[in-house]
Amino acid sequence: MSLKTIRWGAGIAGVLGVGLALLFHWQVFFWVPTEASMGIVQRIFYVHVPAAWVGFFAFFIVALCSAVYLWLGEERLDIAAVSAAEGGILFTTIVLISGPLWAKLAWGTWWTWEPRLTLTLLLWFIYVGYFLVRSSSENERTGRRLAAVVGIVGALNIPLIHMSVLWFRSLHPQPVVLRTDGPSLHPDMLVTLMTALASFTLVFLAIFLVRYGAERLERELRAHDSARESGKGVPV
């Protein structure tokens, strides 16, 4: 993918993402019905759940690119993995902040060590570890390969997070969309959730693409500089 294509892709995703963000905020605050038992605080749902999905999507990209990077050694895959990992940590942080803000009013506590919350916090720490592993190795290439392993292992936690509310006794609500008998949400709530999900996904893809392009250009410049300093000519 050329840098020009990346720029166009990021631009289109960004404009669509912000446009959908405007729409979903209008839906959240003026259109969607208020949930009967929790009231207005249930509207945190429309930022909490899409952020979780986008976080998982980002970590899936990390795992996929890391696995293929370990196999083929293609540097662009490592760049994609590290760019997605940044976004994954960001969206998981949103989940870990918006969740307690909701829980305090719905459950009466900011935090409880129940399976889904604990596993999500663990996921966040694993991907913080991903960056620590990258930077801790003296050999840059070794650091990248070790981080790729962490990136793959970390993603194994995602199905556990999803299934934890079904397998264990949990304070966290059970899935309302990904159910075998179909979504149990009010249709307007489902439409709002899908708009929010599309918006967050497009905003993530836009910034991810720009971040990927910048990292790629930076590494190309570094390779260019080191080739010039060693007098071996410039790789094109």
Binding site: G39, I40, V47, E86, L90, I94, L101, V203, A214, E218
Partner: protein, 74 residues
């Protein structure tokens, strides 16, 4: 670079508008009380934190591009 920063600022203003909209909904709801205002602050904080974090990531990427542009200019 400038366009990216401008987009970020637009997002921030948009986020503030969301806060206003939430307040409007909370105040016009039937039986609005201190408890419903507390709910409003939690909703506002959740949305504000989400957009501030996204904005922070956008700014960090914009700064990286700015550094690259200066390096290319040299």
């Amino acid at each position: 670079m400038t366009r990216v920063v401008a987009s970020g600022l637009a997002l921030f203003v948009f986020m503030l508008l969301v806060g206003g909209a939430t307040e409007a909904v909370a105040q016009t709801a039937p039986g609005a009380s201190a408890a419903s205002m507390r709910h409003f602050w939690h909703v506002f904080a959740a949305y504000a934190v989400a957009w501030l974090l996204i904005l922070g990531w956008l700014f960090s990427v914009a700064r990286r591009i700015g550094r690259l542009e200066r390096r290319l200019d040299r």
